[in-house]
Amino acid sequence: MIGITSFGAYIPRGRLNRAVAAKTHAWSSPGLMAQARGERAMANWDEDSLTMAVEAARHTLAGRKIDLGAVYLGSTTHPFDDRQNAGVVAAALDLPETVATADFAGSLKAGTAALIAALDRVGAGQAGEVLAVAADRRRARAASVQELMYGDAAAAFTLGSSDVIAEYLGSHSVSTDFVDHYRAAGQPFDYQWEERWLRDEAFQKWLPEAIRDGLARLGVAAGSVDQFMLAEPAPRLAAGVARRLGIADDAVADGLHGTVGQTGAAHASLMLAAALENAKPGQTLVVVGFGQGCDVLAFRVTPAISQLAPRTAVAACLARRKEEKDYARFQAFNDVVTLEKGLRAEANPQTALSAMYRNRRMLLGLVGGRCRKCGTPQFPAALRCVNPGCHHAEEMDPYRFADEPARIKTWSCDWLTYTPEPPAHYGMIEFECGGRFMADITDWDLGQVSVGQSVRMVFRVRGRDPQRGMIRYFWKAAPLATAREA
């Protein structure tokens, strides 16, 4: 038996109140008020598909010691066209460099494509489990319907052949150049065709046919489907498809439009993760990725799901929520307005790629060292121990700090220095295991940061260099009082 062995998700805690955004544009686009219900997930300025993927993967791997053979990442918003994004995810997870990595892109199906490829790899008997992650952070023009409807998120699965919580029944894929929207290479925004055509031509014609073929091929009777996750590009399309297929109304999963928004290549995976949170042994799950065709995957939940440790997936992420009522902040984070950033923002040194490579485990994996004599964990690793009572000179054992409990020792919020989100919060972060360093603080609430506060280290964008197109990633401290996470 092969299938899903673990899952996790990540939704940024920022939630844009759609009504606030719609009201801002009501003078020119009163029609947007029709979309003004609920909220959408909104990435922080220092989050992108890659950082969200890392966080979803950490939640998926939490507490499990497994041998990963490959990492696959599906997205339509990979931060890099040429620098393997899945490779950065693997490095942030501090996986051995013998892991195989691949990016899946080019369609909203990229997430399910990565999932199918991962299952195929496991099915082919390759060594180790496979991590399949899907993430998207799609930008949209100000005052567009997409700006309101899109959301940012990631979801991840490990696929393997033992301790399977959802058995893979197989998949069926259809590829058709149905272009309801597209984004050419180098373009920041989607170009969108009329939604009525999408509904009539796809959701009432070829898509139900494709899914029906898939279910038949997989031997799944429509009436036996317990959860139907169709990554619909717009609300209220899945129910009609289910009805045409004979899938029960109450099997149609929540499309998460009111709480998260449409999360692109991550959406099918996010819905599947949400379904797994509440799945019972024996249930049949059907998930459909949509985009220039479709991928249909079917799973049967096994009794092993009841043994799976509690995890951060969709429910926990939905609970970790900060409503954003300031639409200007959303615009700034998504770079859709030209802001005055101040002269201090001009300082932007070149990124030394050779230094970045030498220190890749430090920068991407948050790996420091542990002194072989006194045992003090320290960051960064050095050739001489930092302990004033030791100073032993010998190469250190690698020591990863990413999951170590830590607290804020000193801090300030700084209105002078440049940051995309003033005031810049940073402070001395002290790890309970030993070790400390001056770190950026992210996901803060103004007036809520304090000495002694517990933090979780998170992988984020440290800075962007628009002149050279570089994105510098590193780890930051997220206060746990606001980030209620494991």
């Binding site: 201090r344 030394a352 930092v386 801090w411 300030s412 700084d414 220095t417 001395m428 001056m438």
Partner: protein, 401 residues
């Protein structure tokens, strides 16, 4: 066993430019302003100088690299000139180079000159520093107020000082320096400011407001040093001779920023350098023996903890001493009698020498309106870098013998 520097080197002359937003001048003209005053004070010609040290920190703005800008601007006689840089402790570093050269007998007369032209950046506050290849990849975008504000968070935590109490003491520190600065014609900021205005100023880095931060200034200061014997041979009266009693430097080795011991509420290196400096100068009870001092008050909180780090206030006792006026001009040990970095201003490379300049004037009875009565020892404290990773230079000067 090293003998130390005590009384081996005398100050022959000093000079200091007016500090401030010197839109009219570049670094070259600022250096000349300080240099010509020092030459006249020393009573020597430039060709008598055997070696020189230039201190400048921000070579990214104006001054450029190497010591050639000083050698060229001052038309020095093809002598050895060395540029030194050690963050905001650069001035003391230049002074140290000159003093040690004389003490070693490498030259008879040496020059230390510090200069900074900060106001060619187009914005307020300190310019950003180029910090190498690795730090931008993992350090926060730290500003100077942002890192020193960290000390305040730790101080409040350690001594359970309420924020309002600390803010009030910090305001008193800044207000005192503003009062002192009024009497200094070379100071950048020369207006008294009320504690209420200080506490109500816009926030820069929690809990530091605008008036908790020192002036960002252009300026230059210099010192000409020699041996006490040569100073006498050049006509200086022994009673007027000011000599170096101690000159110490202490640098972080990564412990504060990387090892879980230091609590962030004090500056470790100040404590180390102060102990060594007192020993070198033969000072046993600094709170009784010091007459005056200039500390690196880049921010009010830095001045507060430095009182404790120098052993003048007890740990946790600086708030009370400040509120009691212990460090005011009419207090027991006046601090920042010239206005300090806060109001004299802070042209980085010049500041360490500027502090010594004030102690020198006071010891010679030439401090005008702000002259203190019969000072014996003056201490300067020059701090560069971050509270968790820094450079501290301390000098003690006094009358010869």
């Amino acid at each position: 066993m090293a003998e130390g520097i005590r009384d081996k080197v005398a100050i022959l002359g000093m000079g200091c430019s007016r500090f401030g937003e010197r839109w009219d001048m570049g670094a070259e003209e600022l250096m000349e302003e300080a240099f010509s005053e020092a030459l006249a004070d020393a009573g020597i010609e430039p060709r008598q100088i055997g070696a020189a040290w230039l201190g400048s920190c921000m070579d990214e703005v104006n001054i450029g690299k190497s010591a050639t800008p000083a050698s060229v601007a001052l038309r020095l006689d093809n002598i050895p000139v060395t540029r030194v840089e050690n963050y905001c402790a650069t001035g003391t570093e230049a002074f140290r180079g000159a003093v040690y050269a004389v003490a070693a007998g490498a030259c008879d007369i040496a020059l230390a000159i510090g200069v900074e032209k900060l106001k060619d950046t187009g914005y307020g506050g300190l310019p950003g520093l180029e910090i190498g290849s690795m730090p931008p990849l993992w350090w926060p975008n730290m500003s100077a107020p942002g890192v020193f504000a960290q000390v305040a968070s730790a101080y409040m935590e350690r001594y359970k000082v309420p924020r309002d109490t600390l803010k009030r003491a910090l305001a008193e520190i800044s207000a005192k320096s503003h009062v002192n600065g009024v009497k200094n014609p070379k100071a950048h900021l020369r207006k008294p400011v009320s504690c209420d205005a200080i506490m109500g100023a816009p926030m820069i880095a929690e809990p530091l407001g605008l008036f908790d931060c020192c002036g960002v200034s252009d300026g230059s200061a210099c010192a000409i040093v020699t041996t006490p014997e040569i100073a006498r041979s050049l006509g200086k009266h022994p009673d007027q001779l000011v000599t170096v009693k101690a000159l110490q430097l202490a640098l972080s080795n990564g412990a504060e920023g990387g090892y879980n011991d230091w609590d962030g509420s004090y500056i470790l290196t100040t404590r180390k350098a102060a102990q060594r400096a007192y020993a070198e100068a033969g000072i046993k009870k600094p709170r009784e023996e010091l007459s005056m001092f200039e500390v690196h008050d880049c921010f009010s909180i830095t001045e507060l903890v430095t009182m404790e780090d120098l052993g003048l206030s007890e740990d946790g006792g600086a708030v009370k001493d400040v509120m009691d006026g212990f460090y005011n001009a009419d207090g027991k040990i006046p601090c920042q009698i010239d206005g300090g970095l806060k109001c004299f201003g802070h042209p980085i490379g010049a500041s360490g020498i500027r502090m010594i300049y004030e102690m020198y004037l006071q010891l010679q009875g030439r401090a005008g309106e702000r002259q203190l009565q019969d000072p014996r020892y003056g201490l300067t404290h020059n701090l560069g870098g971050f509270p968790h990773q820094n450079v501290v230079g301390i000098s003690i000067v006094g009358h010869y013998r």
